[in-house]
Symmetry: C2
Subunit: 326 residues, 2 copies
Amino acid sequence: MTANDAVLGIDVGGTKILALAARPDGTTLASAVAETPSRETAERVISAMADTARAAMTKAGLGIDSIGSAGVAAAGAIDARAGTIVHSPHLATMSNTPVVAVLSQLLGMPVAIGNDANIAALGEQRYGAGKGVQDLVFLTISTGIGAGVIIDGKLFTGSAGYAGEVGHMTVDAHGPYGASTTPGAWESLCSGTALARIATERITAGERSSMSTALLDTNQEGLTARDVFAACRSGDALAQDIVADAIVYLGAGLTSLVNLLNPAKIIIGGGLSNEWDAYIAPAVALMREQSFAGIGKLTPVVPPALGAEAGALGAVALASDALHQA
Amino acid sequence: MTANDAVLGIDVGGTKILALAARPDGTTLASAVAETPSRETAERVISAMADTARAAMTKAGLGIDSIGSAGVAAAGAIDARAGTIVHSPHLATMSNTPVVAVLSQLLGMPVAIGNDANIAALGEQRYGAGKGVQDLVFLTISTGIGAGVIIDGKLFTGSAGYAGEVGHMTVDAHGPYGASTTPGAWESLCSGTALARIATERITAGERSSMSTALLDTNQEGLTARDVFAACRSGDALAQDIVADAIVYLGAGLTSLVNLLNPAKIIIGGGLSNEWDAYIAPAVALMREQSFAGIGKLTPVVPPALGAEAGALGAVALASDALHQA
């Protein structure tokens, strides 16, 4: 094998490192997993990333000569051009670390890096639910709402790397701020965190609901979106009302995205995508109805295909792109 | 001169055709203007476009051999790939006309076409207020809110040519529909039409205002945004309240655009940009405050530089691009 035959994809999160040795077309040759030593120094974390990557290489029977480059998907705010993690809540010791420079020295090959949500979008576009599509939006609806936007087959990051902050679109100019600096931010109104917060506020304000048991449960740290959907299914009127309100906001934000970006496909993942029929599908129906010139009727909305490997496979795509540019 | 030395840029609106003969770098060699025979057949309109273009060529002393290609900026919904005007309220007879095929035959050169708002954005990016900037948004705030989005130096049109419909972003999920299919659409809340509509509704509902004189003036077709800003300046409380509300929405939409697209620059034109200090500047201040991670603080917001020639110069840029691709 030559140096153009294989690449490494490394996904580093707060708890786990997943490394893949793969062909540039996304075919996985071998994988390795390790715990992230997230409380130790940045050097130790990067060294664990290199070890995990080497383990995947070894399993695949590949020497260093047959690997052309490595890609990294990391949780947090990433400066892709500088090759640094600017800030990461899940990898606290890694803030302001020149990951690319250090890892590239350890592995002896070029390294490229990106934010995990963005890189997962690249993975889905290249090898998953967005295969063959040049313009797509990959949304992750969980505690917040994040996105990776692909335009013309490439990750769209904007002029300074901050594009795609869809969770901070205003969908209600007079709405609450939540954890955003933007009033009525999309994620403040319909993320998992938002659903749990709204339920808690309304029960605390005296509304009756079967969810009050879960709220008072001292074994649980407050309500979760899961509690809200469970109550919804068991016929709880408050939960149903909260979900109905949130669907209006979810649909409004999807409409804005379609009217602004006109993607060929939208992929929706994250915890709340498990509530597809109860939550995602009705919001998509609203979007189709409300979109400009009915263009949303032509936009398929689907779940992701790569599951937990989307980040690592996106890192493989990133590494392959670096190979072609070199 | 050879066929790569000059191009034609043609801007066709409901009342006027403007044609420029120019160098590919945007230097205008000559211009010609004619009335649009907008009530006559599509063939007559296209023929008038060809005549106006030839008049510009002649004035510049250029023969057909020295012109490499022509670009067209047209009002309405354009299918750029098919080279047709799909629908145009201002050029009613031109709907479903294969403009590019006919004009290209008449002029004897390749022709490219685009929507006038998009093409004006390209003009500003190439030769005007966005010169040297690769990622920008050019907003036109007048009766509606339109945009041309430039990404990586190219016009961004999305997967089916519908991208950039910023006027139909939802900024208030519970807001009015106005003329949009989207609830609380940006343009339904802060375009010129919106300001006039809101003032009319509030006066009709019994609120007192100096604007009621203008509303009752039978020589004028109802209130305009100009009336609202004039009343605002003369201290009318209702007008001031309406403008203050609209600034909140204008700021919210700008924030969404910055958070989503992270442009290097925003250019704001259209009639309401004449109210820069009273209307645009306070909304920009809100955007800077509300944007994600303060990224909007780094985003200059400026008026356009090309004035009424933006469309025709954008068509020159379009023609030049076609030249380079050929």
